[in-house]
Symmetry: C2
């Protein structure tokens, strides 16, 4: 399969990994809205012979809460199929004996209940949206500047995402802000970290070359997957912008209008 | 003088340029507080045969307002001696026919009263402190993303400054945030822009090698001045940190405890 392009490569696939926001649905007021055709597309993948996982950098709520939201929107999806940065971060913090100062969305705080947060010796930021006030960012900055060896974790490095009312700044922007302020480099947990993609592959028991990632973020979904030798296809929904198709460093294996179109093409290649 | 080190070089100086915050005073509640000895140090320079100017990236208030503050603190200083980024920015905007979306401190808005701000075709940020809310930064981001040729001006590129209650994030941090979000490079107005230092030299009618900059910011004051072939001395007040003295790229011509000590050394070299 290594030398097969899209959509020909679909013949030898064994698994598909889907980003959530911008691929399955657009976030916004309330639960947001499903992208047309995506509910059926997920269903068709589920009833095919392909393994299916979901890989998101969403950190606005606990995994349980946002999976429940997706179920309300009509998606057939369960918590065990979803990989998100917070549980991965909890594992890293415990393993290294680190006590985080958290700057995250209120809704994701329960994910960190089991982690000691007294007398912080690192800072962890997620998409905090309105919680990224000047005061909160300054507080995180002061914690870092007060540490002999400052450590900053960022749950993703996305630039922006799309809600129903427009583009919104993502965690990567604030990661860059703190990196510059403190003259350090953050450790990214979540896409495009190879470790994060690898955990999904391990769970499926598949090789990268047997697996396709579909996302709306050219750099973090497509580029991140390709960096791990997975195939990467971009959808023209969510945060997609036409300029992505002439990006200087990342070229998707394929670009499709919607997840529904991608699934049509994959299943057609496989003779369904 | 080119081959003379500090403080020997003081013999052939014709002018001195002082940063304000962190050199003359520490900002904070109310007017802030004068740094011990600095009021007399300014006075001694004024009564010497050296020309004196003040060069600041302060953009929290109009020049008139913060000069009045310095006068209340006891400094002998007038508006015409002070160079700050806002008037320089107004000149650039008018010259290039640009209409800014402003994200600045409320107090500095009057400086831009003469500039057309309807239907913005660029974004200009200054130190906006609490005005750097998520919503305001996102609005600036959306304006930039909506422009065919996005232009971002930043009044300085400082990482942080020191107030009486601790370190505070400066405009450069938010400049980096928007640069990353929009994949562009900002145009900096103010220190360390060579054009900004040049405007001070022109006003004094002096050559760079005849002029010394004294500041607390190693990169923007000292490095910026040295880049223009001025001498640069750092004070151990304000945002100074011991690690500045082993900075990988910028080495001050001299480092002194306070402005008062620098002035003592300069005047001693000159036989006063």
């Amino acid at each position: 399969m290594a030398d097969r392009g899209w959509p020909d490569c679909a013949k030898s696939l064994k698994g598909v990994v889907l980003d959530l926001c911008g691929v399955l649905y657009d976030s916004g007021e309330g639960d947001g809205v499903a992208i047309p055709g995506s509910i059926e597309a997920v269903q068709r993948l589920k009833t095919s012979d392909l393994q299916l996982r979901f890989c998101t950098n969403e950190t606005q709520a606990t995994r349980e809460k946002f999976v429940a939201k997706l179920q309300r929107l009509g998606f057939d999806i369960s918590v065990s199929e979803v990989f998100s940065p917070s549980p991965a971060a909890v594992a890293v913090l415990k393993q290294r004996g680190l006590r985080p100062h958290l700057l995250v969305y209120d809704g994701v705080l329960p994910e960190f209940d089991s982690v000691d947060q007294t007398n912080p010796n690192c800072v962890l930021i997620g998409d905090a949206a309105e919680n990224f006030s000047y005061q909160n960012l300054n507080e995180a900055f002061r914690v870092l500047m007060g540490l002999e060896k400052p450590v900053l974790f960022s749950l993703g490095r996305g630039r922006y995402y799309k809600e129903t009312d427009g583009l919104k700044l993502d965690v990567g922007v604030y990661m860059k802000a703190l990196e510059y302020a403190c003259d350090l480099e953050a450790e990214v947990i979540g896409k495009p970290s190879p470790m994060f993609f690898q955990s999904v592959l391990s769970d499926m028991g598949l090789q990268p070359c047997e697996t396709l990632m579909i996302g709306d973020d050219l750099v973090n979904d497509v580029g991140g997957a390709q960096h791990c030798r997975m195939k990467g296809v971009q959808v023209r929904t969510g945060k997609y912008r036409p300029s992505d198709e002439r990006h200087p460093t990342v070229t998707a294996d394929g670009t499709v209008d919607t997840l529904a179109q991608a699934v049509d093409m994959i299943l057609a290649q496989r003779g369904h």
